[in-house]
Structures are given as structure tokens and as C-alpha cells.
């Protein structure tokens, strides 16, 4: 009881102070976008994630200028050099290739795979989700049963099965990872649409005679975007990790490509002589995925503060 009174007194004091210092202030009107940006800016971890991602993207883009060596250049006289060697800051791998150069070039592939796979999965998944959610009926039942079957597989197993059928390679791995991601987006969009359909403004738009496409494109799709953006941000990291896993298994990008999963797999053969050859590429994957997860979490909190816990 005593504490409650104290709290109450503090609230009173704070309110009084505000009255004194800002007597005529009116609440600041912000658009939802401004409000989201304001919340994002205050979250240090999110900013850190975003900064790291921008750094990696920048370095990857400038790879031809920044990489000290050709990532595929073999030098058998400089095999497995340790970290800190003057000419090779991050050392070399079993074929004497410069790890830093391969790391810089590898960022291109990983980011490209992550973003392309998510874009593909999101586009197809959203399209199916919009249609099934809006029209319902038999189409919805059939598609959802198919999705149930796709989801009855552990994700990586399904991707492995697809690559096993198509044959190993970066494009096939990217496609497999994207296909596995489709059900995730379909479910998110479909459930958004199902709840939006009952809202009054949607019923009003329907009463005003909006046709189906207008309803979907102008009202339902834009309003189902926030959960989709959050899911996609978190998913890019997951897909990068997933595609690197396929490369590690020998199903994704193929040697001698400079790709983080391949570097890890090649380095793994020499963990006794040169542990850095597998630690460094793994660390690169980990940091990019971590930064995407931090960004995704921050976005979720900024777009929907009710979810913050």
C-alpha cells in the first residue's frame, strides 16, 4: 500500500513537471512510418545489426576493389598459413588461397542467395496466400492440404530431396531453399487475410462495389505487409544459413567457388593443422545471420509493440 502511494505521488509529480515545462504542448502527430523509424532508432541492437549488414553488403559489392587477391588463385607454396601472416591477414587455405579474399567474395553469394530465395518464396507464397485467403472454398482446402504435406517434412530434408533430384549446384540449392520457404509465407498471408476480411473497412469497400482485384491489391495486400516484412527479415538469415548448409553438404555452390559453406567444408578437413580455415567462414555466416535476426526482432518490436516481451 505504501509503495502504491509513493508511486502515485511520483506520477503526480511527473505530471506537474510536464505541466510546468510544456504548458501548451500538443501531442506530436507522427505517421506510422515515422513512429516505426523513431522506435527503430532507439534500439541499439537493431542499429548494430543494420550497421553490420550494411558493412557486409558494401564490402561484398566492392569485392573486386577490396579483395587483396584473386579468390581462386592457388599458391601451393603458401598453404595453410595462420592468421596474422603479413601478406595474408586471415591466413590461407589448403590450396594457398587467401582466406580474406575468399571471404569478401563469398559474401556476395551468401547475401544474393538469402535475398533472392526469400524474394522468390515470399512472392509465390504471398500470391497463393492472397488467393486462398480471399476465395476460400475448395481451392483453399486443396492448397492447404498440399501445404500440410510440404510441412510434414523437416525443411532441410525437403531441400535435400529437391537438390538430389535436380542435381547439386548453387541455382538448384537456391530454388530448393526457396520452395521450402513458400508454405511459411502462404500461411502468414492467408491468416492475415482471414482476419482482415472481417474488418469493417473491408466490408465497406465491398459494399461500395470494389472488384476482387482492387480489394486484394488496394486493401488486403498492403495491410498484410507488416507481418510479412518481419517474417522475411528473419527468414533471410535462416535461408543464408540453410544455403550454406547445403553447400557444406556438397549440394549447393560447387568448388572452387568462394562461398562460405564450401570454405567451411574445405577447412573442416584441416581442423588440426589450420582451425582458422573453418572458424573464419563460419563466423562470417554467424555474424550475418545474427545481424539479420537482431534487425528482424527490432522491426517486429517497432512495427507491433504489443509483441514486445
Amino acid at each position: 500500500m505504501h509503495n502504491e502511494l509513493e508511486d502515485f505521488a511520483q506520477i503526480e509529480t511527473a505530471t506537474d513537471k510536464e505541466r510546468v515545462t510544456e504548458p501548451l504542448s500538443t501531442p506530436v502527430q507522427r505517421t506510422p512510418l515515422q513512429e516505426t523509424w523513431r522506435r527503430l532508432r532507439r534500439d541499439k541492437f537493431t542499429l548494430l545489426g543494420a550497421a553490420w549488414l550494411i558493412f557486409v553488403a558494401g564490402v561484398s559489392l566492392l569485392a573486386p576493389a577490396l579483395a587483396p587477391y584473386d579468390p581462386l588463385e592457388i599458391n601451393l607454396r603458401a598453404r595453410l598459413l595462420p592468421v596474422g601472416t603479413p601478406a595474408h591477414v586471415l591466413g590461407t587455405d589448403d590450396l594457398g588461397r587467401d582466406i580474406l579474399s575468399r571471404l569478401i567474395w563469398g559474401g556476395r553469394i551468401s547475401l544474393l542467395v538469402g535475398f533472392t530465395a526469400v524474394l522468390f518464396a515470399m512472392t509465390v507464397g504471398t500470391f497463393i496466400g492472397l488467393l486462398t485467403g480471399f476465395y476460400g472454398g475448395k481451392l483453399d482446402t486443396i492448397v492447404m492440404r498440399l501445404i500440410d504435406i510440404l510441412m510434414a517434412f523437416p525443411a532441410i530434408l525437403l531441400a535435400i530431396a529437391i537438390v538430389a533430384a535436380l542435381g547439386p549446384g548453387l541455382e538448384h540449392a537456391m530454388l530448393a531453399v526457396a520452395i521450402v520457404g513458400i508454405p511459411y509465407y502462404t500461411r502468414i498471408v492467408r491468416s492475415s487475410i482471414l482476419s482482415l476480411r472481417e474488418r469493417e473497412y473491408i466490408i465497406a469497400a465491398q459494399a461500395l462495389g470494389s472488384n476482387d482485384w482492387r480489394m486484394i491489391a488496394a486493401h488486403l495486400f498492403p495491410n498484410s505487409l507488416p507481418p510479412l516484412i518481419i517474417a522475411a527479415t528473419l527468414d533471410v538469415g535462416w535461408m543464408i544459413m540453410f544455403a550454406a548448409g547445403l553447400s557444406f553438404l556438397g549440394l549447393g555452390a560447387q568448388p572452387p567457388a568462394a562461398e562460405w559453406g564450401i570454405m567451411l567444408s574445405e577447412g573442416h578437413k584441416f581442423i588440426r593443422q589450420a582451425p582458422h580455415a573453418s572458424i573464419i567462414p563460419g563466423l562470417a555466416i554467424f555474424l550475418v545471420v545474427l545481424s539479420l535476426n537482431l534487425l528482424g526482432d527490432g522491426l517486429r518490436d517497432a512495427l507491433d509493440p504489443r509483441l514486445r516481451r
Partner: protein, 315 residues
């Protein structure tokens, strides 16, 4: 309860049928003629045509599928091209090794995940909570195959306390030897699951701790430990069970990567060798085995869930 279980088991069949169809379809679409793979590049056209006819490859797709399904149900999963052995006994033998690893990892994930979640929730915003939240985020972002390699480097290469790979020492026998080999792969595999279980336990506990009946229990003067473990935890664990079930599926998937890192002789390693050798009957059998066990695990979780939360049964 019995009615619910029967309904759930009956609902399992269409899913298993769909899974088997997808497995067959994917590998049916694979380029390359199985007859050519079996007979080799020197085979002549007549013997190829004869083998295609014997294998039923000249039949329409659906006929091929139902014949294959019929054989699978009778225990004939085909013959491995590379290993020249029946697929089913091979797959069952290797699945045993995978099951050890998966179950031990699930156990580790539960043993680490649930207490971490409880501690985090009961001391929200404390230093311990913050450390565990950072740990959760890091564990969530860590590629399982990289974590495996790091553990190998630290515990096998530098400290030399645990074996670097395999399931048995050349002259070692017994449970202790198996356990020593299982620790590192299970630690690598369980981390991802443990952090998700911890995260779920934390948020579920935080929600339950805000409920009226918890306040009532505290108002009655109940000891805090009893409030948490007797009143809150029981209800908080219900959604955690579902997450644990989902994680067992995740473990089955991640297991493939861990088996490659640690040369664990499970079904993942068998499958990958099959893929590299384009041994499709073997790959098909391995995928079917993992996918169906995933479906069955999900069924068990659903039933367990309904046992814990009676509301589910009546919906």
C-alpha cells in the same frame, strides 16, 4: 480421449500418403535413367529396355507409384545400387544411430532450455535474464555445422578430452564409449532446440505469472518457489510441449548436417552417400524413413498435448 486419439491416427494416413507421393514424385523427376545407372554406360539397348520393363519404368507414372507404394507397405523398399543390399534393413539399422543422437539431443535441449527459460522469466530484466537472452539470440543464429566444428576444435583437437568423430572407438565397447562419442554431436545439435525451448518457456512463464490465480496464490502467502513450480510451471509448460515436439523434427533435419561433421553413422550420412552415388532407391528409402518418423513424432506430440490440455480434445 480414445476417440480423439483414433481420429488423429486416422488423419495420419492421408498425410503419410501425401509424403510418400511427394518422395516418389521428386525422385521420379530426377534426370538420369535408373536402368542405365544399374547396368552402367556399356549396356546395350536391348538389355536396357528389358530392365526398364522388369522394373516397371515403362508404365504410366501413377501405376509406377502405386506399385512402389504396394511394395513399400509389404516391406520391399528396393535394393541399393551402390551397396548391393536391401534398403529397408540398411535404413532401419542406420536410423537406430540417428535415433540415439536425436533423443539424447532432445534430452539435453529440454534439460538446458526449460530451466534457462524459468530463470529468465522469474528474474525478468536481471543480469541473468539479459545474459540468457543474448545467449538465446546467439544460439539461434549459429549454424549447427559450424558449432559442431568449433566443439571438435576445442574439445578434441586442443583439449583432447572427447573423440573427434564416429560412434565407437576401434577397441572401445559399451555404453560409456557410445556416450563419449555422443556428447559433442548432441551438444551441437541440441543448442538450436534448447534456445527455442528457453525462449518459449520464458514467454509462456511471463504470461502465466501475470494471471489472477498466481496473484491469489501469492496473496495467500504461498512460498514463491511453490507458486512458480506448482502453480505457474504446470500451465506454462503446455505450449512448451508443442515447441519440444516441433524441435524433435528440427533435430531430425539438423541431424543430417551434424552426422556429416562428426561422421556419425546415421541415416543422414547414408542419405548423403546415396545422393553422391545417385543411388536413388537408397535415397528414397532414407527420405521416406525420416519424413514418416517426423509425421509420427508430430502425432505423438499432438496426443501428449491433448492429454496435458483437455480443451484441445473438445475443439
Amino acid at each position: 480421449m480414445t476417440g480423439y486419439i483414433i481420429r488423429r491416427i486416422l488423419a495420419l494416413f492421408p498425410v503419410l500418403l501425401g509424403v510418400s507421393f511427394l518422395v516418389f514424385l521428386i525422385l521420379h523427376l530426377a534426370p538420369g535413367d535408373p536402368a542405365l545407372i544399374i547396368l552402367g554406360p556399356k549396356a546395350n539397348a536391348t538389355s536396357l529396355a528389358q530392365l526398364r520393363h522388369d522394373l516397371g519404368l515403362d508404365q504410366p507414372f501413377l501405376v509406377q507409384y502405386f506399385r512402389w507404394l504396394g511394395r513399400v507397405l509389404q516391406g520391399d523398399w528396393g535394393r541399393s545400387i551402390q551397396l548391393k543390399r536391401e534398403v529397408l534393413p540398411l535404413v532401419l539399422l542406420r536410423f537406430q544411430a540417428t535415433a540415439y543422437l536425436t533423443l539424447f539431443s532432445a534430452l539435453l535441449a529440454i534439460l538446458f532450455g526449460i530451466p534457462a527459460g524459468i530463470i529468465s522469466a522469474t528474474r525478468q530484466y536481471s543480469l541473468l535474464d539479459r545474459i540468457s537472452m543474448v545467449g538465446i539470440m546467439m544460439g539461434f543464429s549459429m549454424p549447427v555445422f559450424w558449432l559442431g566444428i568449433i566443439l571438435q576444435i576445442v574439445f578434441s583437437v586442443y583439449l583432447g578430452v572427447l573423440p573427434v568423430s564416429g560412434m565407437q572407438s576401434p577397441n572401445g565397447e559399451g555404453f560409456l564409449d557410445l556416450l563419449k562419442h555422443m556428447i559433442l554431436p548432441s551438444l551441437a545439435l541440441s543448442t538450436g532446440a534448447a534456445v527455442i525451448i528457453a525462449r518459449m518457456t520464458r514467454s509462456s512463464m511471463l504470461e502465466v505469472l501475470q494471471q489472477d490465480y498466481i496473484r491469489t496464490a501469492r496473496a495467500k502467502g504461498q512460498i514463491e518457489r511453490l507458486v512458480i513450480y506448482r502453480h505457474a510451471l504446470q500451465n506454462a509448460l503446455i505450449p512448451v510441449v508443442t515447441v519440444i515436439g516441433l524441435q524433435v523434427g528440427y533435430l531430425l533435419g539438423g541431424d543430417i548436417l551434424v552426422e556429416i561433421v562428426f561422421s556419425w553413422p546415421g541415416i543422414g550420412l547414408l542419405m548423403m552417400n546415396g545422393i553422391m552415388a545417385r543411388d536413388f532407391p537408397l535415397v528414397q528409402g532414407a527420405i521416406l524413413m525420416v519424413a514418416s518418423s517426423y509425421v509420427v513424432i508430430n502425432l505423438i506430440v499432438d496426443i501428449l498435448y491433448s492429454y496435458l490440455d483437455p480443451r484441445i480434445r473438445y475443439q
